[in-house]
Amino acid sequence: MSASVVPVRFRDTQIEMAHGAGGKASRRLVDQLLAPLLLSPSAGVLADAAAVSIDGVRIAMTADAFVVRPIRFAGGSIGELAINGTVNDLAVSGARPTAIVVSLILEEGVSADTLAAEVRAMALAAARAGVQIVGGDTKVVERGKADQMYITTAGIGAYLPGLDLAPGRVQPGDKVILSGPIGDHGITILLARGDLDLEADLCSDTRSVFPLVEALAGATGGALHWMRDPTRGGVATSLNELAIDSSLSIHLQDEAIPVRVTVRGACELLGLDPLHIANEGQFLAVVAADAADRALTVLRATPGGEGAVVIGDVRPEPAAAVLVATQYGGTRIVDMLAGDPLPRIC
C-alpha cells in the first residue's frame, strides 16, 4: 500500500504543545499519523531505539531532538542533555552506545561563547559515556525563530549479548525496579524558568545510565524483560505504555517510590504528580521475580545506582492499567500524562 492511500485516524486539527509533551497526545500523534505513514511493517513495537539488521548484524538505532528552555540549568545544559538522552535511549534498549551524529540549529545572534560552551558540554558528555561523535550538520535560522539553539541527534549501538527486551516478555509476578529518585530534571527546569518565584536546592539528574544498565544486564541476563528511561511524561507514562503494550497491570507502592523532599514539596505546591515529571538520568526495569534481589544488589554496588529500589510488581488485572497503593491501604489509578504541565523540558 503506498503512503497516499494509508488511512489516517489522527483527528486533532492542529499541533499543540501537548503533542510534544510525551503523554497521551504524543502517543496519538505517533500511533495515528506518524507510524502508519512512515514506519516499515517490520518495525514492531515502538521503543526508545529501533533494531536494524545489516547483513545479518543487528544494531540499535535512535534519533532525538532537544529544544529545552532555558538551555543552561542547575546540573546540566542542552548539549549535555543531547548526548546523555541519546545514550540512554540506546542503553535502555539493551545496547552499548557506539556512535552519535549531531545537528545544530542555531539562532542568529547567539554568542560564540554560548555555542562553544554547549559544544564542550557535548564533547565532555560523550567522553564520559564512552561514545564517539562521528559527524553532524549545522543550520542557522533568523533571530526569534529558535531559543538560542536546538539540537538533534542520531545514535547507533551494539546490542548486549543475552538480552531480549520487549513488553511481550513481561509476565505477571515480575518486579518493577527504579534506579533512583524521580522528578529532579523536570522540577529543576520548571524552577530555572524563574516564572514561579520558587527556589530550591535541586539539580537535573542528566547522566548516562549505561553503566547501570550494563551491570544489571550482566547480572540478570534473560531475566531482564523490559527497560525504559522515563523522560517526558515521567514514570507514569512509561509504565502506562508498558501496561498497554503488554495488556498487563502494573501495581506500585506509593511509599516505595523515591522522591526527594524538594521535588515532593514543589509538586505539592504546584499540584503536580511526581510520577508525571520528567527524568534524564533514571531508568525503569522489569525483571523476573527471582532475579529482583540480584538486580538490586548489583545496581546498588554500581556508582550512581545506590538508590535503586523495587517500586511494584506486574499483575494480570486490571489489564492495561497502572495502580498505586497508598500507605493507608487505598488505591488509585495513575494515568498517562494528559496535556502539558511543563513545556520544553528536553
Binding site: Q14, M17, H251, Q253, P318, T326, Y328, G329
Partner: protein, 377 residues
C-alpha cells in the same frame, strides 16, 4: 515535609478509619457532600474511599471554580485575545478548558498570546514589563482567589497602570451550596465544608446550614487525616443528633475569617444580580464584578464582549452528577465522548472536577475486587 507528613501518618489514619467504622451505623446510609473540589481530588488521590465503609457515600460538591464556569464566559474572555495587542493570562487550570471556539491553549496554537500565570500579581508584573501591550487576567475562583485579584487591582490603580484589566468570573460559595440544598432531588446528611474558602470567609456564613437546614457541617483541611477526622466529627454529630458548624481546619481557618482579605474584596467588587453556574443554571447574587471605581480595569467594559451563551450538550448530565443524583460513571458520555483530555462536560475539565478525579484515579480499578488490588506488605 513539615505540616504535610504529620497529616499523612499511617498509624493515625488507620485509627481515624477505625473510628469511622465504629461510629457508622451499618443499617443506615450516610450521604456526605464534600463541597470543595480540592477535597474531591484528595479523596481520590489518596484512595480514601477505600478506607470508608460502604454505608458512607461521598457526594462531590460544586466547589470547583473551573467546573462551574459556563463555556460562554471562556469564549467572551478569549474574544479579546484575538487582538494582537492583548496578552491573555490565566491560571494553568484554565488552559485546557474548552469554550465553543476552543480552549485558551488552542487559541495559543492559532497565534493568540496566551500565558499561564501563578497569581494575578504575575499578570500585573507582565503589564509593567510590556507597556505597549494590554494584559488581561481571566480571573476565576471562589473567595479563595478573589482577594488576590482585589489586591492586584488596588495596586494597579494606585500605580496608575493603564494596560491591565481583569475579566472577572469570581463566584461565592454560599449561594452555590444553597442551590444544591434547594434542589428537590437532593438528600444530604452533612457537609465537609471548604477549607481554603473558609480561610477567607471564616465559619459563620455556614451557620444557616446547621441551624435552618439542620445539616451538620465540618470545615475540613485537605490532607488524608484532615478528611478522615472531619468525617469522624460529622458522624459524631449525626449520632448525637446535633447539627452545628465545627472547624477541623483550625490550624489555618480563623472562625471570623480573614478581615483584611474581606475588606479588599469589598473595596473592589460588588455582587452581580445573577450569574450562570455551569450545571446548576442561573443563581442570584452568586458572583462578583468590579465596582464602578474600577471600571477602567474591567475587561467586560473595556472590550466588546459578545456575551456568548453556550448550552452544554443535552447528553451531558453534569447537573445530576453535581447534585449527587448520578455517579460520574453513570453519565452516558463518561469515558467515551467525555474524557479529561477532551472534556465535553464541566466536571471533566479540571483535576478538581468529580468526573475528572474519578476518571483519573478510580475508573478502571473498579473492574477488579478490592482484595485483588492490594500489594501484599
Amino acid at each position: 515535609m513539615k505540616f504535610v507528613d504529620e497529616f499523612r501518618d499511617s498509624a493515625l489514619i488507620t485509627r481515624a478509619a477505625d473510628e469511622i467504622r465504629r461510629l457508622a451505623d451499618p443499617g443506615r446510609q450516610y450521604r456526605i457532600m464534600e463541597v470543595c473540589g480540592g477535597h474531591t481530588h484528595a479523596i481520590y488521590r489518596f484512595g480514601l474511599k477505600d478506607l470508608l465503609p460502604d454505608s458512607i457515600e461521598l457526594i462531590h460538591g460544586p466547589g470547583c471554580p473551573v467546573c462551574v464556569l459556563p463555556m460562554g464566559r471562556i469564549d467572551d474572555g478569549l474574544s479579546a485575545a484575538r487582538d494582537p495587542k492583548v496578552i491573555f493570562t490565566a491560571f494553568g487550570d484554565m488552559m485546557r478548558v474548552p469554550g465553543a471556539a476552543g480552549s485558551p491553549l488552542e487559541h495559543k496554537a492559532r497565534g493568540a498570546d496566551v500565558r499561564i500565570v501563578y497569581s494575578p500579581a504575575d499578570a500585573l508584573k507582565l503589564a509593567r514589563a510590556n507597556p505597549d501591550r494590554h494584559v488581561m487576567f481571566f480571573a476565576i475562583g471562589f473567595e479563595t482567589t478573589a482577594p488576590s485579584t482585589a489586591l492586584t487591582l488596588m495596586r494597579a490603580r494606585a500605580e496608575g497602570i493603564q494596560n491591565f484589566s481583569v475579566f472577572c468570573n469570581h463566584v461565592t460559595i454560599i449561594p452555590g451550596i444553597r442551590a444544591i440544598l434547594d434542589s428537590p432531588d437532593m438528600r444530604i446528611d452533612g457537609f465537609l465544608g471548604p477549607g481554603h474558602v473558609s480561610t477567607v470567609i471564616g465559619c459563620r456564613p455556614y451557620e444557616w446550614i446547621a441551624q435552618n437546614e439542620r445539616k451538620p457541617i465540618v470545615v475540613s483541611g485537605f490532607e488524608p487525616l484532615d478528611l478522615l477526622q472531619s468525617t469522624v466529627m460529622l458522624l459524631r454529630q449525626l449520632k448525637e443528633g446535633r447539627s452545628v458548624v465545627e472547624n477541623q481546619y483550625d490550624r489555618v481557618v480563623p472562625w471570623e475569617g480573614n478581615i483584611a482579605a474581606l475588606r479588599a474584596m469589598a473595596e473592589v467588587f460588588e455582587l452581580r444580580p445573577f450569574f450562570e453556574w455551569r450545571g446548576l443554571g442561573f443563581i442570584s447574587q452568586s458572583a462578583l464584578r468590579l465596582r464602578d471605581e474600577y471600571a477602567a480595569y474591567d475587561a467586560e467594559r473595556i472590550f466588546q464582549v459578545p456575551g456568548v451563551r453556550v448550552t452544554d450538550p443535552k447528553a451531558a448530565q453534569c447537573g445530576e452528577v453535581l447534585k449527587g443524583v448520578l455517579k460520574p460513571a453513570q453519565c452516558k458520555l463518561f469515558g467515551k465522548e467525555c474524557t479529561p483530555e477532551r472534556p465535553v462536560g464541566a466536571l471533566m475539565v479540571s483535576s478538581e472536577g468529580s468526573c475528572a478525579a474519578y476518571h483519573t484515579y478510580e475508573f478502571r480499578k473498579t473492574l477488579v475486587p478490592l482484595s485483588a488490588r492490594r500489594i501484599p506488605a
